[in-house]
């Protein structure tokens, strides 16, 4: 659905994943140099899985009085890292501005699959100590085990493609 709008200069940059990736990587380092005094861990500038965990666990702790684990930076600060909340807000604003907000629904069964998928995705991502993005940051930080994690993700993607192809062939 390409619109014929003439995009502005900044938007041309924003639509280029190469630019976006570079920017996220560099800014994640900037976030560390700004905020590391609040507590670790290192290479923690951006992570969808861990930052969601911090927000959810600290939220649950505040409501239910539990002591669920979170990263030191989120435990110490007045509020946990809000990156994921920001992502949701930023993407929503952008989708509205560029008129790309479309409500897409699915069947009740698909909702259940996505719910379970999200649950297990989170569990396995936390096994690795981060989502693919933090693994990328950690690899840039010199963490070899994170690099092994990325290789495992590639293996998982290859397996997932086979499974997805098999499933569509059976349906079709």
């Amino acid at each position: 659905m390409e619109k014929e709008n003439k995009s502005t200069g900044i938007d041309t940059w924003a639509r280029n994943p190469l630019v976006v990736g570079l920017l996220i990587g560099i800014l994640a380092a900037l976030v560390q140099v700004l905020l590391i005094s609040a507590g670790g861990p290192e290479a923690y500038g951006f992570c969808v899985a861990c930052h969601t965990r911090d927000v959810v666990n600290i939220g649950v702790n505040a409501v239910a009085g539990t002591k669920l684990a979170a990263a030191p930076i989120s435990q110490n600060a007045v509020l946990p890292v809000m990156t994921v909340v920001g992502v949701l807000i930023g993407a929503f604003i952008s989708a509205k501005i560029y008129d790309e907000f479309r409500k897409k629904t699915g069947s009740a069964v698909s909702y259940l699959w996505y719910l379970l998928g999200g649950l297990f995705f989170m569990v396995f991502a936390l096994f690795m100590g981060g989502c693919p993005y933090r693994l990328g940051l950690r690899t840039g930080y010199g963490d070899t085990i994170a690099f092994i994690g990325i290789l495992a993700i590639i293996g998982g993607v290859l397996a997932g493609i086979r499974i997805a192809t098999f499933m569509t062939e059976r349906e079709g």
Binding site: R15, V20, F46, V78, I93, M128, G129
Partner: protein
């Protein structure tokens, strides 16, 4: 003690503000570019499209360059850069604590494969799912809710279990 540009008192207040602004920027860029890590690998293996894959590789390169530059300016904020040199074959803290290197490799391999499979079948990594949620995709909304539940499930039950099992084996 690690020291960044902001003093500890200010940093404790600045954490949610800085990360929120950073997140809004990532959300905007992610929505415009369709940025996706797992999608990058998928598109490459299925169609030999390198557009998204280049983005993920650029993220790793950008992170390395960023860490290197800021480390040169303020080494105190990056105590263990470059990790392999300072800390050897161990992971940056974040995964379940107190395991041997073998244990962490096992966790990374199991986690990575599962994350890759789930990401491909459900059409995206967590960032893409968050962005699609904001674009009005209800299925992705359920994925994000599932992630929130998964967080509590992991912390309460699975983390301890995994550490116990791995300490028993390796």
């Amino acid at each position: 003690m690690a020291a960044g540009w902001l003093s500890k008192e200010i940093a404790l207040i600045a954490v949610p503000i800085v990360t929120l602004i950073f997140g809004i920027l990532i959300g905007w860029l992610g929505q415009r570019s369709g940025f996706c890590s797992i999608g990058g690998f998928r598109d490459f293996f299925l169609f030999r499209h390198t557009r998204l894959l280049n983005g993920y590789i650029a993220l790793i390169v950008g992170a390395f360059v960023g860490y290197l530059v800021f480390w040169l300016i303020t080494p105190a904020a990056f105590e263990h850069f470059f990790w392999l040199m300072t800390s050897g074959f161990t992971p940056v803290p974040g995964a379940p604590a107190g395991l041997s290197a073998t244990g962490y490799v096992i966790l990374a391999v199991i986690g990575g494969i599962a994350v890759g499979v789930i990401g491909v079948i459900l059409g995206g990594c967590p960032l893409r799912q968050c962005v699609m949620t904001s674009e009005g995709n209800i299925k992705s909304l359920f994925f994000v809710i599932g992630m929130c539940i998964g967080s509590v499930v992991f912390t309460l039950w699975i983390s301890g279990l995994a550490i116990g099992l791995l300490k028993g084996i390796v």
